[in-house]
């Protein structure tokens, strides 16, 4: 493949700022997304570590760094409730919209999808760049909002009205930031779908696409169709805050002992409907690309085809469809009536079926494989039970009767963090360890990687497992003192320091990863074009690292995505673009 001349017309070298800053190459944009999202992932984690101090040691001054937050936030190093609320709201917002989605969709999706389908770039490269810069602008707006009077948004990441309507200026910034982020996802989603539909290489039929690409395709549809209602809701809440309309304000609303001077006639429940119409597909946006990453790595490291590839594809399509009709299971406490609840209970239980099929198929894929326990595989294997715990603890939340006592407790926090934190974040780590050689041309260090994995999995569980116990005891997610002033929480207060110390140790456990990441770029062992003996096109049809335009000659696909250990084949992997011998 390397002997072919460069057929790309764009021979001349671009200046630095065109090549790396305002680039339209999907690989550079993917890296831009990755770097920005990593920053926000770390930033969101820091917000949470601050909160964990307050939860474990309520009312005590935070040593050393506490003095730097100013009297408006932490006078004498003691956290004020308003600041705690800001931290909570922004932790959620940043982690979901600025860290995880841009990482799994923007970064991995952008870098890997065109390579896996044999495309020269994304379908609309300029749109791709615009999409990144919209995300960047949204991120800057969110960060800046910490310095506006009253601090950043403090009405929870869900921004329920009417609380959010009467909140400080930070909420307006939040809404404007969200409009930018929504626009970014929208443009990205259009680009992904068009790329996957239009730019598949010759022979890359739908059922020869790697599962990662399927996951990205469904994710893109979720973003495309679920985000606009939130945009509508954001516009309406902006109208409420700036033009003093009453979309979400009922008549006769009393705030601080006085009737609010608004026309009234609006509906607070309307916000919840619109928010969760986005919010529930959004959680699948967080998890489906993680499924994709994990599937690639498990297939590669078990050296056998994925069990039930088509079941996986149909499951992910079913999840995509069903995720649009489950949203109101977040709203059982609003008193929607039993018929509406019954509908949403049914759909919610239905959606667990394809999720279980995916997890089961991945587990069965391990059976009879000759498993290589390298770092990406460890994280992928860690993902399976962690996602399993997160998924199974969701079942009681699907039913009205069991959801109501658990609603808004730490049980919920534990449930969805198991899916997103040790779930999706482990998949992100797996993906970084797996595709790092393709991106940089260097291997990462295995020993440091294994240390990183084992420490992370211990402390992740140290943070989130106790949450189930606290939640079942009735500890609310909104209590700013971790429950110390509530009678029902006294028996489980001892868990707070355990969770907090686990969180801080988890931060320290990332040091081996950071050393590994930066050291390997320069000092890592040199990687070949296909260091994992993989079958998919990003490894088999293009050099490491891939050049601008991705492929020197258009690849042609002859095989299924995971043809490992095929009977009669010379090697234990058959590249997708290896011609069939006559």
């Amino acid at each position: 493949m390397a002997a072919h001349p460069n057929t790309h017309h764009d021979h001349h070298e671009l200046p630095f700022w065109r090549k790396y800053i305002f680039s339209t190459d999907h690989k550079i944009i993917g890296l831009q997304y990755g770097i920005t999202a990593s920053f926000f992932l770390f930033f969101g984690f820091c917000l949470m570590m601050l909160m964990r101090w307050q939860l474990a040691y309520p009312g005590q001054p935070l040593p050393i760094i506490g003095q730097y937050f100013g009297d408006a936030n932490m006078p004498g190093g003691i956290m004020l409730p308003e600041f705690y609320n800001s931290l909570g709201a922004m932790h959620g917002t940043i982690m979901v919209f600025l860290a995880i989605v841009p990482m799994v969709f923007g970064a991995f999706g952008n870098y890997v999808t065109p390579l896996q389908i044999g495309a020269p770039d994304m379908c609309f490269p300029k749109l791709n760049a615009i999409s990144y810069w919209c995300y960047f602008a949204g991120g800057i707006i969110m960060l800046t909002s910490f310095w506006v009077p009253g601090g950043a948004a403090n009405s929870g990441w869900t921004s329920y009205s009417p609380l959010a309507n009467i909140a400080t200026t930070g909420q307006t910034w939040w809404l404007i930031g969200m409009v930018f982020l929504i626009t970014s996802s929208l443009l990205g989603a259009i680009n992904f779908i068009a790329t996957i539909v239009q730019l598949r290489a010759k022979g890359m039929t739908w059922f020869r696409m790697p599962f990662f690409v399927w996951a990205q395709l469904v994710t893109a549809f979720l973003l495309l169709l679920a985000f606009p209602p939130l945009e509508a809701a954001a516009v309406m809440q902006l109208m409420d805050r700036l033009a003093h309309t009453s979309f979400f304000l009922p008549s006769g609303l009393v705030v601080g002992g006085e009737v609010m001077e608004v026309s009234g006639g609006g509906s607070p429940i309307l916000w919840q409907h619109l928010f969760w119409f986005l919010g529930h597909p959004e959680v699948y946006v967080l998890i489906l690309p993680a499924f994709g990453i994990v599937t690639e790595i498990i297939a590669n490291n078990t050296r056998k085809p994925i069990t039930g590839y088509k079941s996986l594809v149909f499951s992910v399509l079913t999840i995509g469809f069903l995720s649009f009709i489950v949203w109101a299971h977040h709203m059982y406490l609003t008193g929607m009536g039993t018929r509406v609840s019954a509908f949403f209970q049914t759909t919610t239980i239905l959606i667990s079926i394809p999720s279980v099929i995916i997890l089961t198929a991945l587990f069965i894929s391990l059976w009879g494989g000759s498993i290589r326990f390298n770092t990406p595989m460890l994280f992928a294997l860690g993902f399976l039970p962690m996602f399993g715990i997160g998924g199974l603890t969701g079942l009681p939340l699907a039913f009205n009767a069991t959801d109501i006592p658990l609603h808004d407790t730490y049980y919920i926090i534990g449930h969805f963090h198991y899916i997103v934190a040790p779930g999706t974040i482990f998949a992100i780590f797996a993906g970084i360890y797996y595709w790092f050689p393709k991106i940089t041309g260097k291997m990462m260090n295995e020993t440091l990687g294994k240390i990183h994995f084992w420490l992370s999995i211990v402390f992740m569980n140290g943070i989130f497992m106790p949450m189930f116990i606290q939640g079942m005891a009735g500890v609310s997610r909104r209590w700013y003192d971790g429950g110390s002033s509530y009678d029902i929480a006294q028996g489980v207060l001892y868990l707070n320091p355990i969770m907090s110390i686990s969180a801080w140790l988890l931060a320290l456990s990332q040091i081996p990863f950071l050393i590994n990441l930066f050291w390997s770029i320069w000092g890592g062992k040199k990687a070949s074009d296909n260091p994992w003996d993989a079958t998919t096109l990003e490894w088999t049809a293009t050099p490491t690292p891939p050049p601008h335009g991705n492929f020197k000659t258009p690849p042609v696909v002859y095989h299924n995505p995971y043809d490992y250990s095929m009977p009669g084949a010379k090697k234990d992997f058959t590249p997708q673009n290896q011609p069939v011998e006559a």
Binding site: P125, A194, S263, F551
Partner: protein, 196 residues
């Protein structure tokens, strides 16, 4: 490798890239306006005294604007058809008319808004006005966006006709699809807000 199917449709999907792109974009727009229409339904069902649109809004002006927009959709198609028939000067004429009709629509809308403000009817007056101004305002924003794109294709963007006529025709088709959608939204808005 260059990006394929920018001009010619991909044989198995039958569309060129931008056409698929605009249809996907319109799908998301349906969800955006769909959410607002649903909000309208929910707010109206929850209201004890929702006013009848025709008692507040100027129905003749609304009807006039509906005709203006439908006509502009026709001229938009004519502009594209002229390009298909390789008649560039006719394209200039019809495309120009489309933009002009868009401007007429906005001027009429501005008069309607002004009359409401004069009578102290603002978005904060009632939920009816809140949804009226939000929906029509967002729609007007779409009209402006469509006019900007059409204006670009009428003016500086039309240079492409000399170098890549087929690609230019595609661009007009794609912007036309967007323009028809904006028109279609109004066709839903008009009866919902003015008549019901």
């Amino acid at each position: 490798m260059d990006i394929p199917y920018i001009v010619k449709p991909r044989p198995d999907t039958g569309v060129f890239n931008a056409k698929l792109g605009i249809w996907l974009f319109l799908a998301s727009e349906v969800m955006l306006f769909g959410a607002l229409f649903s909000s309208y339904v929910l707010l109206r069902l929850g209201s004890p005294d929702w006013p009848r649109g025709s008692s507040i809004l100027n129905v003749p002006l609304g009807t006039f604007n509906t005709i203006v927009l439908i006509t502009s959709s026709i001229t938009m198609v004519m502009a594209w058809a002229s390009l298909m028939l390789k008649n560039f000067s006719k394209f200039k004429l019809y495309q120009g008319l489309t933009i002009l009709l868009g401007a007429v629509f906005l001027v009429v809308k501005a008069f309607e808004y002004g009359a409401k403000f004069e009578h102290h009817m603002f978005p904060k007056t009632s939920v009816y006005f809140a949804i009226y101004f939000t929906l029509t305002g967002l729609h007007a924003f779409h009209v402006i966006c469509g006019m900007v794109v059409n204006g670009y294709l009428w003016g500086p963007g039309s240079k492409m006709w000399k170098t890549q006529p087929e690609r230019f025709t595609n661009r007009v088709e794609v912007s036309g699809l967007f323009w028809h959608f904006v028109d279609l939204v109004w066709i839903f808005l008009f009866p919902v807000l003015y008549l019901l």
